[in-house]
Amino acid sequence: MAKVLMKGNEAIGEAAIRAGCVHFFGYPITPQSEVPEYLAKRLPEVGGRFVQAESEVAASNMIYGAAGVGMRVLTTSSSPGISLMAEALSYIAACELPVVLVNIMRAGPGLGGILPSQGDYLQATKGTAHGDFDLIVLAPDSVQEAVRLVISAFELAEKYRNPVMVIGDGMIGQMMEPVEFPDEVKGPPLDPGDWALTGCAGREKRIINSLYLDPDFADRHNRKLKAKFERIREAEQRWEAYNCDGPCDLLVVSFGMMSRICKTAIEELKAEGFKIGLFRPITLKPYPYEALRKAADKAKRIISIEMNMGQMIEDVKLAALGTKPIDFFGMAGGLVPSPDDVVAALRDSLKKAGAGGKAR
């Protein structure tokens, strides 16, 4: 298929259709409302179903139900809306149902603002909701990668029967970039296996439920979920290492759109003789700790750059295990660090690293 110029939000909607997902339940919220807008128009054209729920709470329980009967299903929202969906996510993870959700993050906390943010990193990767469970979290840095990762999210969700979140900031939802879609459309429905509620005539009945009053059973279930995440950790880590071939003065760790702003800043400082690497986790969960550790080994110093007040830096510290000094630079509230802001932050870190660059 030829390249088209498309808004990130619309491309995410189209990617879901290409992944064979024709069921969407959601509720509008800036800056992701173009996803439901696009799917409201497109899904009837492909024989799908679009439901605008009465709230995010309802939408998240609708995807719970749809996944339970073996449907490939998507919801999308933005930060405050994702918080409202958190309870259902815990239930969905407990019941091991494959759903995909997209969070196009806006500034918080609270109702916050509509401008870009990465303030939900910790929510997505650590404390999404109550109980022991793990999401798979994917963070694209372009509209094209958003398409690739949404398609990948459905594959991962079904492979592991686990909820998968694709997380981006408002910029990636609102910007247009050239994008190519795979020609092939995956046929629904997903394989209902031995778990989906498809009508029990002629077979044993199945129950999808997350109430475990027997502690021994509940303990075994928790161990099973943890073992599953260990398999995910082994097999599914993804990252990009940019300029990380040899020793470097500084290693930048950044994800999503922020990493592209960092790349521009890194290129600018390259002209002055500074060698700066960039490590970009693509799977925020499972986090690529080992790969980051290897990249960090070649650097004098590390800086985590995020559109928040310092969230991913906790994982950067876990990766580096105290071997290197780690700086932080970030902005919040909807402010996006410009390439100039990043250059200034990198200069500070380079100075602390004792890097001279070319004599000037």
Binding site: L5, M176, R260, I261, S338
Partner: protein
């Protein structure tokens, strides 16, 4: 051309987001790497609206640009807000129909275009945004002249009666840009 970043700004409704989309799409069709990043803040409707279009031979790094190489402004608030941010040696295109002041940037090339008047003469006063785009393309050669005409035809394909005047407005801007380049 290595990399060009164009900031296009005006009141919401003046059509700069559309001009940016036409430019980005034309450049993409010509095989360039592009990005189109709009302001989508609460000030957008009726307030100022702007878009940054990056056009490059290499993958676009940051689509968020605070020091563009070119600025196209439809109204005075946009010139006052963004005029100082253009890179040294850059280009500023000013809609002189609505902006009575001059740019104070001696280190940039500044073009003044009577965009509303040229659009009116072309048959639609609402196409001042396309005069501005035409002027920029005529001056800069960032994309081929015809490629934007094709984009306008495509954009208005469901409202075909608007195509001739909008193309004429773009062409009028292009000629103005070409003439200003000749005199530079």
């Amino acid at each position: 051309m290595a990399s060009t970043e164009v900031l296009m700004a005006g009141f919401g409704g003046q059509g700069m987001l559309l001009s940016g989309k036409l430019l980005a799409h034309a450049a993409m069709t010509l095989g360039k790497q592009v990005s189109w990043l709009p302001s989508y803040g609460p000030e957008m409707r009726g307030g100022t609206a702007n878009v940054t279009v990056c056009v490059s031979d290499k993958p676009v790094g940051s689509p968020y640009i605070t020091r563009p190489t070119a600025l196209l402004v439809m109204n005075q608030p946009s010139l006052e807000k963004f005029g100082s941010r253009v890179r040294e040696g850059g280009l500023i295109v000013i809609n002189s129909s609505l902006i009575p002041i001059k740019s104070d940037r001696a280190d940039c090339k500044v073009l003044y275009v009577d965009a509303a008047e040229l659009a009116r003469k072309a048959g639609t006063a609402r196409a001042a945004n396309l005069v501005m785009l035409g002027c920029y393309v005529g001056w800069s050669d960032i994309v081929e002249r015809e490629s934007v005409v094709k984009e306008i035809e495509e954009e208005f394909s469901s409202k075909a009666k608007f195509i001739p005047a909008n193309v004429a407005a773009y062409e009028a801007g292009y000629e103005a840009g070409l003439k200003l380049r000749g005199g530079a």
